[in-house]
């Protein structure tokens, strides 16, 4: 539904999207490029942004959503400032990565794949980080932490504002 409030107070996100579209073009062939740049600015692709883009480009929303869900580079959930990736590869799993993950979920009060409401952390799981010697292992923003126990977690979180 269109909003009745006039473009003066148009949500800033959409003003930026208009600029991207003016620059790249609204033809269907620019869909992926437009999505990439919008995600770059907003961090993710929420529903209203996808619908707005579909309307602006004159393509069905189902198609936009199809492309967004086809490529793993697109995300429809906000990504936190810090991304925690917990390795659930075999070696880590055997050494208790499951409990580590559960502890993070407990302390952050979110499930794997989600972001804390304050936008500080996103919790994800991954397959083998290639550091099996340090199992169980995780990385935060690329920084690796190994030989973890559940007691280490509060300390790790405290390092990231």
């Amino acid at each position: 539904m269109s909003c009745q409030c006039g473009s003066a107070s148009k949500d800033e996100r959409f003003v930026k999207i208009d600029q991207i579209l003016d620059q790249n073009g609204r033809d269907e062939s620019f869909l992926i490029q437009n999505l990439e740049q919008i995600q770059h600015i907003l961090g993710y692709l929420p529903e209203d942004v996808q619908a707005y883009l579909a309307e602006a480009m004159g393509i069905p929303l189902s198609k936009v959503y199809g492309v967004v869900t086809f490529y793993s580079l697109f995300t429809t959930e906000p990504i936190g400032k810090h991304k925690i990736s917990i390795c659930l590869g075999t070696a880590c799993y055997v050494k208790g990565a499951g409990e580590i993950l559960a502890e993070f979920e407990k302390q952050l009060k979110i499930k794997v794949g989600e972001t804390t409401p304050d936008g500080r952390f996103t919790l994800t799981a991954c397959r083998c980080l290639g550091a099996c010697g340090l199992a169980p292992v995780l990385n935060v923003n690329g920084k690796v932490f190994g030989r973890l126990t559940t007691d280490d977690i509060a300390g790790i979180l405290a390092q990231f504002e």
Binding site: M1, S2, C3, S7, K10, D11, F14, D18, E47, D48, Q50, A51, Y52, A54, E55, A56, I59, P60, L61, S62, K63, V64, Y65, G66, T69, F70
Partner: protein
Amino acid sequence: MEMVTVTIDGVETQVPSDYTVLKAAQKAGVHIPTLCYLKDINQIGACRVCLVEIDRARGLQASCVYPVSEGLKIHTHTPAVLEARKAVVELLLSNHPQDCLTCIRNTTCELQALAQQMGIDHVRFTGERKEYPIDFSSPSVQRDASKCILCRRCVAVCNQVQNVGVLGLINRGFESIVGPAFHRGLGEVNCTNCGQCINVCPVGALKEVDHTERVWKALADPSKHVIVQTAPSIRAGLGEEFGLPIGTPVTGKMVAALRRLGFAKVFDTDFTADLTIMEEGNELLHRIGTGGKLPLITSCSPGWVKFCEHNYPDFIENLSSAKSPQAMFGALAKTYYAENNNIDPATIYSVSAMPCTAKKFECARPEMEASGYPDVDAVITTRELARMIKKAGIDFLNLPDEDFDKSMGASTGAGVIFGATGGVMEAALRTVYEVISGETLQNVEFNAVRGMEGIKEAAVNIPGFGEVRVAVAHGLQNAADLLDRIRSGEGDYHFIEIMACPGGCVGGGGQPIVSGPMRLTLPEDYQALRHKAIYTVDRDKTLRKSHENPEVIEIYEKYLGKPLGEKSHHLLHTKYTKRPKYSVEIPDQPEK
């Protein structure tokens, strides 16, 4: 077209150079199985059921997308081909709930037919099976994604034929699923309820929302007076469900079957189709005379009306305020009919048999309570009616021909042709011509508005008025094209007919399903074949103009007064609502 010579299974044959291998084989009388392919609609080479061996090509090729060329040698049933096709179907079955016994498409399912044809007696592969909840959100279409084989025929029809585009392919690989964006239900998005997706689905993943249970219940309830109205297109399609060739009219047997099912009265929606012409025709004259909003656009196709409300709200004022024939019938059943026959309207149970899934939505619109009760209590599609007849054990083909009941059962040829694209227009012209000119129309057949062309135009000279310019569109993509033309200032029409379904109601989303392989063998579009039934019934009628319908004349004399009068206004006219295009709110686009 240039011809090329190809050899299919050792037999040389000449085919046009733009043919695919599948089409060439078809022409040569060789049957290649298909699943995702659907003539004129979906040609994406996705399922690989149609594999063949081609001398020049490495590996097996999907014949539905492989173009012919001079000297091509094709083998359609080598051991490698047969084994590969079988493996393809087995893989589909390994991720498929094999619920055939309780499935709506049992014995009419294309996947089931393939499994049988390929002699699959067990499935060698086992693996994880995808299970999804059933989507019950729509009043018209029920979607069971667990049975979906991802052929994308529904995606093609919803996007390209209907220009609605609510169905799409989501995710990738094993996670793939076909459905609306954000995994919403069909009832939560701008689906038009047209049901065209049901008509193309090869399996039981899409079906109409069932109303037969409530009808059985009403029929068994002695306190209920159960009546039925039947839309014009039902009689042109119902026979197919009993093995008759496409295009066989079965009006008399249909009436007989409905009586045997236990309906107290069997009425004809054609009666209110004639009434629609009286109201809509007069509305046209009124708008022309008073400088009202033109072009006037028909409103009898609820799929089209919803499409307009979501996507072309700037045309809502152009929509005729006249209700659809089903809705008019509903409003009169519990008023006019009840009063005339001293029946308490509260005890009347009003059923409509329609070729249309969108009519299930229409009957639930809030404006459909003009009588003070739900005007229509249940809507069954042609397919549901056939199921009821079969369930009751009625020997349809050997029924005698019977007539509709009186008082709301008389109809003219004009009412009948409502079922075909161009029919409402033709019916309106027959009446408007005579009303304006006061002269008798010599040739009542307006061929310019008949046929399967997507957008048809005509100009009719009416003595005493001048030229009336009309246009007809069927299928929502054509409708959108026509409206875009008008938006851009092209095309200056007085009157436009739009039907949501290709071919008009005969091609409705509730009509018998014509399978993919069947479509490939038909000499013409199945809708065109059904048109023949409609026009035959029209030709055989003595009365062919709505204003000559004696029961229509009677209802105006005794009950309604005059077209567009106060009573008509209350019972037979309605309003439309702007609806959002998206399931989330978005701001306006910048001014161009």
